[in-house]
Subunit: 140 residues, 2 copies
């Protein structure tokens, strides 16, 4: 079991931000130490894995609103047993959402590839120029 500061250390997200994400609904409410909703937050490895997944989306350019559109409809990505019953309907919906998300990731990667291609081109241009200059130096 992890505390909020353990999670902060393990993920690189501040405790402030973790509480903020919970408040606005990006992350689900975790269990608490005492009573149904008192005491400190307690996280397990499944929570950690989920938080890392969500943070990955954020870090790769997805807005919190977009992230929420994937996670609402009943917290679709947690894989936790106590979540919505797994019936064919929700399964189809989950798979659809993942498909859309994968397509979005592919789009982002394509864009990065394009930017990288331009950068490589520029580097090749400068390298060629440098080589010419060095040859000229050698002759003199």
């Amino acid at each position: 079991m992890y505390s909020i500061s353990d999670i902060a250390r393990l993920t690189g997200i501040t405790a402030y931000t973790l509480r903020y994400y919970e408040r606005i609904g990006v992350l689900p409410k975790p269990r608490r130490q005492l009573g149904n909703s008192g005491g400190s937050r307690q996280y397990d490895d499944l929570d950690l894995r989920y938080i890392r997944f969500i943070y990955g989306l954020k870090q790769t350019g997805m807005t919190l609103e977009d992230i929420m559109s994937f996670t609402k409809d009943g917290c679709l990505l947690t894989e936790r047993e106590e979540d919505a019953p797994i019936i064919e309907d929700t399964l189809h919906s989950r798979i659809d959402i993942l498909n859309r998300h994968i397509a979005d990731l592919d789009q982002r990667m394509k864009q990065l590839e394009e930017v990288k291609a331009v950068a490589l081109e520029k580097r090749a241009f400068y390298s060629a120029m440098l080589e010419k200059l060095e040859k000229a130096d050698h002759i003199l």
Copy 2:
């Protein structure tokens, strides 16, 4: 020659934002129609190409500050003749900056790959479950 609204249309960046980028130094000051700094902004294809490159960086998650750290030291990525004279020193510096930038892009792509791997895993999990359910239906 393009006006600011041509560039806005061609890149998808608003004219407001283009002026803002120029103001804070993300984009260089373009030529003007009349006098040295009066009249409307005029852009050519090299400017357009450069603006698209910069916007690509932004869209793939780089902050404006990070972008500026690549472009300062004398507007290192424009390839325009009237820029800093091409001497060995600045060439080395340009190549270094591009190398750092390419490394950064690789890092971002790696992160996207990781997020995608998790998404694919989740999808496979749900698909397998769906298949099982369908088989069960068939038997009944």
